[in-house]
Structures are given as C-alpha cells and as structure tokens.
Amino acid sequence: MGLLSKKDGKLISDPLLDNNPITIQVLGICSALAITAQLKPSIVMAVSVIFVMGVGNVVISLMRNIIPSKIRIIAQLIVVATLVIIVDQVLKAFAYSLSKELSVFIGLIITNCIIMGRFEAFALANGPWRSFLDGIGNALGYGLILVVVGFFRELLGSGTLFGFKVMGDPVEKTGLFALGYENNGFMVLPPMALIVVGIIIWIQRSRNKALIED
C-alpha cells in the first residue's frame, strides 16, 4: 500500500472483517433489519452512512480540542443530525423516489450506534486523517454486511436483483419458476435479516477461531 501506511490501512481493513461493526461489535443491527429487504435501499443506506461517518468523524476530530467534555455527546449528536438532514434534503431534491422508499430510515441514521460509537471512541482522540479512515472503514464494514444481506433477501425473497427478475417471472411461471421454484416470502420480513446476519456471524467465526468469545 503506497498511499496508506500499514497502520492507517488497518483502520480501513479491520472493520471490514475482523472487527466488523455489525457481526463482531453487534452495533447498527436495527437499520440492518429494516432496510435490507431489497438491494437498492441497502446500497443507498450504505452510501449515506459512509458519507455521514466519513465527514462526521473529520468534523468531530477537528473540533476535539474545543468541544467541552460536559456537552460532547450533544455536540456529536448535532453533527450527526446536521449531516443526516443534509443527506435527506439532497436525496429529496435529486432522488425523490428513493428518498420516499427509505423514508424514515434516513432519519434513523442519527440513531445508528456505530456513528456515535466511532465519534466517541475514535474521533475524539485522533487526528482528522486517521478519523476519516476509521469512519470510512467502519461505514464500509457496515455497508458490506448490508449489501450481502440485501442481496440474499431480495434474491431469495422476491427473485429479483435491483428489481430485475433474475429467477424468471413468478406469475407467468418462467425461468426457475417453471421448474416449481417458489419465492420464500419469509425472506422479505425483518426476522429473516436477523437470521441472515446470524449465518454470516456463524461463518465468520467458524473460519477465524480467534473471534470466538468464551
């Protein structure tokens, strides 16, 4: 890695796998359940969180020496809320149908524990560049799981990806459906996201025994 030193590179790669915010730290589960029924909202949510986390971590890091510690949580909240409102407004102006689809979930980014967690644990104690990398890394780790879950839930639940019918048409019985294949309607419902996340956690921990807690 020419651009990043080894230490900085780890800030990005760690949260992707061995310290993933969803599967290892078990943070941000609520939004992972809510919006992963389809691939497209998952990706938009991931991108929005990457933006909010990247910029937010830098802003908090720049302000880390002037934020009074008594009100630091409030200051963090204001920064997240501002960024989220910016995302919401921009989506409403330029991607209206998408913002309708995501509706309250964009607002719910504010409550995403990963963001406040990284502000508190990392950005308040580190410089802007490292904070930026940490923010992007954690958001990517979060987004990765979102996309994987969204992929399987849309594929198995609705037989589509990005709305394209990759499995054939369930009504006209073409493609796989002609062979008697059926969509699993349960995949569309929130509990199934939990199970998919659970399976990912299982696979991850069985491949890397160091992650197993006693």
Binding site: I67, I85, V90, K92, A93, Y96, D169, V171, G185
Partner: protein, 248 residues
C-alpha cells in the same frame, strides 16, 4: 492560547455558536433545495393522477411505472383536460387544483363550518371522459391515500394507492398491481344508491370476476389496511356525488 474548555461560560458560548452555525447551514441548504423538492412533489402528484387515469410506463404484468418526470407536465396537460374545485356544491375551474393539500383541507373542515375544497380532474382516455378524484384515509400505521378514476356512471376505470408506513409484504401491498388492478370495473353505485367498494374477506371471488358485487378480495394479513382502503373509498368518493349526479 489555552482556553479552559471546562468553564461554564465557555460551554454556553460554544453551544450558542454551534447552534448558530449549524442552523444557518441547514436553513441555507433547505431554502436552496426547496424549488427542486417542491417540483418533485408536484411531479409525483401528476404521475399519480395520470397513473389512475391509465397513463403509465408499465411494461411487465407487475410493473407500477409512472410517466417519466421529464415529460410528466406535458402528459398531464395532454390527458387532463379540465381541473375543477368543488366547494359547497359550487364548481370552479382551477388549473392548480391538483396542488390542493387534501390533508390540510380535511383538518380545516373538521373544526368549524369550513367547506372543503374538493379537487376533481377530468381527463380523456380512449375517447371517453374520465373523472379522477383524490382519496385519503387511515391505514394501520399511518396515512394511506390515492386517486380513483371513474366514468360518469361511477364505475372504476383505474386506481392508484399509496401509503406512508404500512407493513412491507402485507399492508404495503396495496400499491401493487394485482391489488390495484382488481378495482377496475367495480361500481360505486348500485342502481341509484351509493354503495362504495369494500375490501372484503371471504367473498369467494379471488380472481375478482364478479364486477357488480362492490367487493374486492382482501389482502391476507392486512385487515386494518384493507378496512382503511374501504373506508376512504366510501367516504371520500361520496363527497363528489353531487357532481356525478349532474352528469347523468
């Protein structure tokens, strides 16, 4: 320059400055983007009305595809020949009628003697006059709304439903093709009497072949949303009865 960040005076000044900065950024952004957001909302209404009228970009059997935002204004002008506002039995032509906020009118009418302004859109589809009326009601979690297109005998030619927060996979299915398409051909009137259309369970007609029973097969697992659809159809379309009587 060492500032004591733990002092109360510092904390207060810090919060004031932060609020001012953040407030102005957001205010600036919101007013900057407002025209685009407003335009999007306007386009959406036009798309919904056109969809109820049967003007859409559907290709597959399950598509709900609107006319694209690029030419929705043109299409709206082309297909919607007249827009009216019905207020207290009086009919006024108003080409901004589609911008009327149904929710606000509903609230205003609740308190006091205010006569609701009821928007009505007259369109041309396949050479026949079609009348599109907006409806609004309650689902399970939040508001549901839509547009119903009727011919002059109050037979449905098309509908569009939307919702704010119905359960995905259950109540949210009201905006799916298979549900909305069922309404086509159903009648609001039984003879001279206003019947409405009910989303009914157990009416033994899942393919909806009987078009004169005033019933639509309900969505499994979405009883409250279905009841909400029945209620809003019954209540809101009825307000236009006086107009439809003048047509025949």
């Amino acid at each position: 320059m060492a500032v004591d960040t733990e002092k109360n005076s510092y904390t207060i000044i810090f919060s004031i400055i932060m609020v001012l900065v953040v407030g102005s950024i957001l205010a600036g952004l919101a007013s900057g983007l407002k025209p685009m957001v407003k335009a999007n909302e306007r386009f959406e209404k036009q798309q919904n009305i056109l969809y109820a009228l049967g003007v859409n970009n559907n290709t597959g059997a399950n598509d709900v595809a609107f006319v694209s935002t690029d030419n929705v204004e043109e299409q709206f002008k082309k297909y919607i020949t007249k827009q009216y506002v019905l207020q207290g039995g009086e009919l006024i032509e108003d080409d901004q009628a589609y911008l009327i906020d149904i929710k606000k009118e509903e609230t205003k009418a609740k308190n006091g003697s205010y006569e609701r302004r009821l928007p009505l859109f007259v369109g041309q589809k396949d050479g026949k006059d079609v009348y599109v009326v907006p409806i609004r009601g309650k689902g399970l979690w939040d508001a549901i709304w839509g547009f119903v297109a009727l011919d002059k005998e109050m037979t449905v030619t098309g509908v569009y439903f939307d919702h704010k927060a119905e359960t995905p996979g259950l109540g949210a299915e009201i905006k799916q093709r298979y549900f909305m398409d069922d309404f086509t051909g159903e009648k609001f009137l039984s003879g001279e009497i206003y019947e409405g259309i009910t989303v009914a369970k157990g009416n033994n007609d899942p393919k909806n072949n009987r078009k004169d029973d005033h019933k639509i097969d309900a969505l499994a697992g979405a009883t409250i949303t279905g009841d909400g659809v029945s209620a809003m159809l019954k209540k809101d379309v009825k307000m236009y009865m006086s107009y439809f009587k003048t047509l025949n």
